[in-house]
């Protein structure tokens, strides 16, 4: 049982008064999609009030009716052709409604961009063209409207076509077509106009039916952003299901799969679903779930791909196109949250390459921040690597949004992976070390006086593995052996040093940096500095290691291991006795020549 007919979302954009509503009214009327008698009623009301009938009134009449709650949808209207059903998404032209326009246009598969042939290209002709392109609406047809006001002149049409094509070329958009129309008179909407015999292309309705509906993603390399990992053990279900929606390509039982950025591999054991016939395969667009032949530890946010196919990029630093709709501007060195596919990461604005001012459409290379409604190109840096495609390769896994102060404040698409360059962290450490103001006591002198060397010891592993108990016992043991040692509890920092970060979701990177900076200072003071971090991964450790340089770090993992390539210095099994764990660590400190002796 299905609705049978194909359906397409289209959005109609353009400058105020260039005729969007008239185009919509025409499409509804000429396809017979209006409620019975509506057209006649509006004509009659115009006659009574001695005002000329306009197709735009149809839309207003429909909206009034909807507002009274009889029919329904304020934000959408419907019409059908022989080929399929269309939903017109109402995208407000006023700049104050940019957030609504974006929300509407992002759901469209194609766009009609209306330009008044008499008035020519205006501010919103450009801005909407740019926004529609950035939102990924690939099929754009430009309607040169009000041709009746320019005597159906081919020259006027051709000039508009040349000018606007040049503008679109600057933002890498190639329109599907240009159609000269008079929406008011009906020329080239449903039938070819006799008044423009020079025009040989499609009518608007023919053009709509030519647009391709299904995004042809099945042919592309397999991409599966891991949305979540389910195990409903309490309901007596032992399946460990990797859940998400296939973004592109397809996969089947027996295929080898690779998870990025962790680099782990496995093989698809089964395709899971509820209340369907058994499945062997999942293709683009399908909400799916898989079990694997091996038990590997992966997290939501990874990208599952097939190793035999072209690979996505993995990196921390990339050049992007971005648009900003946040109340506060986007500024450098502030931490934001990035959401790309199912991945979440802390991100900073590293550099602004150029911005396009939304009001006068001039490019600027000198701006220090990205303001509301700006469109620009910039370099972003995440605190840990994420997997993505540059949009040229696959758009669904290359687009991201940025969250500021709990709200989506911007969006964009990755243009290029720049991960080979110096990272913000490396630059920060270089600056810090360059400006480090050392005292007169040298590290070796401290070591001689203390009878041990400095060390930063990190306990990690899943929550609840007893890390803190062992870490505190180690502190006590070393202290009784006369060492200068200090244990720092995470709760202590949360309410103290990190109190300014509050409950902010995007502060993980900054919290980690502060621990690293503390380690740098305390190991410089000659201490053995101990702390714990839940579930650290390769990048957390790499970050701490870099921040603590030139001093050393020692990593003890307890219980299940969250690392992909990193080998901790010591692995303590789950359930190991505390005293035993402490002597293992102490033993390692001896081997590494940090301490010379340890008595239990």
């Amino acid at each position: 049982m299905s609705s049978g007919r194909a359906q397409m979302n289209i959005v109609i954009v353009g400058h105020v008064d260039h005729g969007k509503s008239t185009v919509i009214g025409r499409l509804l009327a000429d396809t017979g999609s209006l409620p019975q008698g509506k057209l006649e009623a509006v004509r009659e009301s115009c006659r009574r009030n001695a005002k000329p009938f306009e197709y735009a009134f149809l839309l207003d009449a429909l909206k009034d009716e909807q507002a009274q709650g009889i029919t329904i949808d304020m934000a959408r209207c419907f019409f059908k052709t022989a080929a399929r059903d269309y939903i017109i998404i109402d995208a407000p032209g006023h700049i104050e409604f940019l957030k609504n326009m974006i929300t509407g246009a992002s759901r469209a598969e194609s766009a009609l961009l209306v330009i008044d042939a008499d008035e020519g290209i205006k501010e919103n002709s450009k801005r909407h063209g740019q926004m529609v392109a950035m939102l990924g609406v690939k099929q754009v047809t430009v309607l040169a409207n009000k041709m009746d006001l320019v005597d159906f002149s081919e020259d006027v049409f051709e000039k508009l076509k040349v000018d606007y094509t040049a503008f679109l070329a600057r933002i890498n958009v190639t329109p599907v077509s240009f159609i000269p129309v008079s929406a008011r008179e009906g020329d080239n909407i449903a039938s070819l106009s006799e008044r423009m015999p020079w025009y040989k292309g499609f009518t608007v309705l023919e053009q709509l039916d030519q647009f391709i509906s299904e995004k042809e993603l099945q042919e592309k390399p397999f991409r599966f952003p891991v949305q979540d990992i389910y195990k409903f053990t309490r309901s007596n279900d032992d399946r460990r299901i990797i859940a998400g929606t296939v973004a592109a390509g397809s996969v089947k039982v027996g295929d080898e799969v690779l998870f990025l950025p962790s680099g782990k591999t496995s093989v698809i054991q089964s395709v899971e679903s509820f209340n369907t016939p058994p499945k062997e395969r999942a293709t683009s667009g399908e909400p799916s779930g898989f079990t694997l032949t091996t038990q590997i530890y992966i997290r939501p946010g990874e990208l599952m791909v097939k190793p035999a196919e072209p690979q996505p990029e993995v990196g921390t630093r990339f050049r992007v196109n971005i648009f900003w709709v946040g109340r506060a501007p986007m500024i450098r060195n502030k931490e934001y949250k990035l959401k790309l596919g199912s991945a979440r990461a802390t991100v900073k604005l590293a550099e602004i390459c150029n911005t396009l001012d939304a009001s006068d459409l001039t490019y600027s290379k000198s701006k220090q921040q990205i303001d509301c409604r700006d469109v620009g190109e910039c370099i972003l840096e995440t605190s840990r690597p994420i997997a993505f495609d540059t949009t040229a390769a696959s758009e669904t896994t290359g687009r991201f949004v940025i969250v500021d102060n709990f709200e989506i404040a911007g969006g964009g698409a990755v243009v290029e992976n720049l991960s080979a360059g110096e990272t913000l962290l490396q630059k920060h450490i270089r600056d810090r070390e360059h400006n480090w103001e050392a005292g007169l006591v040298r590290a070796e002198q401290r070591a001689v006086a203390n009878h041990h060397r400095a060390k930063f010891i990190v306990f990690t592993g899943a929550p609840g593995t007893g890390k803190r108990v062992v870490a505190k016992a180690l502190e006590q043991g070393l202290f009784h052996n006369g060492m200068n040692v200090y244990y720092l509890g995470v709760a202590t920092i949360d309410r103290g040093l990190d109190a300014d970060l509050g409950l902010r979701a995007d502060s993980a990177g900054e919290r980690l940096r502060r621990i690293g900076e503390l380690a740098r200072i305390l190991t410089d003071a000659g201490l053995i500095f101990i702390t714990t971090i839940d579930d650290a991964d390769d990048y957390d450790i790499e970050t701490l290691k870099q921040l603590n340089e030139p001093n050393d770090i020692l990593v003890v993992n307890m219980g299940e291991n969250g690392f992909s390539r990193y080998q901790p210095d010591l692995q303590v099994l789950n359930g190991e006795a505390v005293a035993e764990a402490v002597s293992l660590v102490a033993g390692l400190l001896k081997i590494k020549d940090i301490i010379s002796d340890y008595q239990i």
Binding site: G69, T71, D228, T245
Partner: protein, 292 residues
């Protein structure tokens, strides 16, 4: 993928996103066809399980079949079933059926107030104990920060302005004019302390889609939706003093679909049998104050 497959895919994606991002999440189940489809979609999303508590606001005036149906499937599908109620208003008979308030005020007391206080945990919640097969007072009183609601954009004007993930402030107020943008399937999943987010997985479904999906998946729905011989059926379910059946011969899901497509209901609003909508302000007023 056909149109229903796409609607299903989007709803499943939204449900999984909500489950991933909200630690304290619940789903409102009104026992009606829409939220029952939503419950079914949760079983799709979570491979037969429903790892999210279901909350029903029991006004005490619901048609009895609805409560029987609720408890039957709560047990059968192993649901974490919770209900809340305005016991004070009921004890004081501050209701429309008791003749002491108008319809809108009654809705406000028995639905909006009960909902607000059940979600916040200020009033007791009653949870189905699967061993005793009866309701017990729930010990969990944490406020729900994510509330999944089965509203559809095509139902009525104010609902067509909703987002998939729609923030509400401390007082449940919805700022229609200034909503966060939503694009590329990225939603508002971050929220300030004290606020909560309403999640709408069915926003793009129409009444007809709902029935087509019920038919395709063979989802059991309350018998009140069908003409059982008297030539009447309910098109929309609520409290019996304020909900009227419509005259209809439709005895099966397929007949209901036919009726919606080309028959007598193709141009009559679905909620026309719900009396509170036609009182002053109606649903929009109720919704601003926290009604679903």
């Amino acid at each position: 993928m056909d149109h229903l497959d796409k609607l299903e895919a989007q709803s499943v994606y939204i449900l999984r996103e909500a489950y991933r991002e909200f630690k304290s999440l619940c789903m409102l189940w009104s026992i009606g066809k829409d939220s029952t489809v939503m419950l079914w979609l949760a079983r799709k999303a979570f491979f037969g399980h429903v790892p999210i508590p279901l909350v029903h606001i029991d006004t005490h005036f619901k048609i009895p079949e609805m409560i029987e149906y609720r408890d039957r499937f709560a047990l059968e599908w192993n649901l974490n079933m919770i209900y809340g109620q305005n016991t004070e208003a009921l004890a004081g008979k501050l209701t429309f059926p008791d003749g002491n308030t108008d319809r809108i005020t009654c809705c406000k007391y028995l639905k909006s107030e009960a909902l607000k206080n059940t979600l916040s945990g200020e009033w007791p919640r009653y949870r189905m104990d699967h061993e005793q097969r009866t309701y017990v007072v729930d010990e969990g009183r944490d406020p729900y920060t994510g509330v999944i609601v089965g509203v559809r954009a095509d139902e009525e004007g104010s609902r067509s302005k909703e987002r998939y993930f729609s923030p509400r402030d401390k007082d449940n107020v919805w700022d229609v004019g200034d909503q966060p943008p939503e694009f590329w399937n990225q939603f508002k999943t971050d929220f300030a302390p004290g606020t909560h987010v309403r999640i709408h997985p069915l926003l793009d479904w129409t009444e007809q889609n709902i029935w087509e999906y019920i038919e395709r998946e063979k989802i059991p729905v309350v018998s009140l939706y069908f003409n059982l011989g008297a030539g009447i059926r309910y098109r929309s379910l609520g409290c019996y003093p304020c909900t009227n059946p419509v005259t209809s011969d439709a005895q099966t899901v397929l007949e209901i679909i036919e009726e919606l497509k080309s028959g007598k209901f193709s141009d009559i609003a679905e909620r026309s049998g719900r009396a509170q909508d036609s009182e002053d302000g109606g649903l929009e007023t109720l919704r601003r104050d926290g009604y679903m």
